[in-house]
Symmetry: none
Subunit: 78 residues, 4 copies
DNA sequence: GGGGCAACAAG
DNA sequence: CTTGTTGCCCC
């Protein structure tokens, strides 16, 4: 009988749905923080860039800067 | 003096970072559920479609499926 | 001397950039077609689904649709 | 009669499909250039970063650098 | 409300 | 790691 199988699928689906709801809630919280930041004069777009930069490992940031130099040198850019 | 401003920025950034960590944790949980489903024989890709369909309002879903059928008929996609 | 090396790099980079420009041009064309379709009453989102379905091999598509129906039945998604 | 409508949809779909094929062809060409670059000793990953950097408008790059300074100052990073 | 853009998920 | 999809923000 298929009911057991069906229930297993349903349970898995419902777990996913619950988790996605939680995830959406957090995404909304993040949005709220940016809205609050904007309300006190910060630029949300720039804040996002900062968050991205802070997420990088220091070595990676250093490498990125080195690449920038390499590219400038090899391509003749100031 | 800028310290107050800087702290306010830092606090906002750190709130975002904390929330993003939580969000990532949940995304990982979702991935785990799909992995578990796959391990017992379900097709994760199709499960995702189901989740998407269940997220829609019934009327919207019915309408979408009707349009899809219309287009399939028009293109000879039996 | 590094000039030869630099030029070789520059040439490769420029070839990539030219190709990426072309690619972007075509992506814009695709966008235009969907916009035109929308203007005469078609649903672009569903058209994209059709394009995806037509890309699949008929057998694969049939199988996918069969599984999808099975899951829908199991979840009571009429 | 629906045949005209159907043909219009089919024509639009086929235009999209043709364009997507072209796009894929160019993507393949790009891949080939990177493969060739790798074969003569360049690092494809770094080349991609260079391409990305060159894609930015100089002003944006300058702004990005300013943002980097701002973030370092406000967040106390070296 | 639409179009462009950036994050997210899929392959 | 790259591409396609989706949701968000600005216009």
């Amino acid at each position: 009988m298929a009911a057991t199988t069906d229930d297993r699928l349903r349970l898995l689906i419902e777990r996913v749905e619950r988790l996605e709801e939680e995830k959406k809630g957090i995404a909304d919280d993040i949005r709220d923080v940016y809205a609050e930041a904007k309300a006190v004069g910060y630029d949300a777009k720039i804040m996002r860039q900062i968050v991205r930069l802070r997420k990088m490992k220091p070595d990676d940031r250093a490498e990125m800067e080195a690449i920038l130099d390499t590219y400038k040198a090899a391509l003749g850019l100031g």
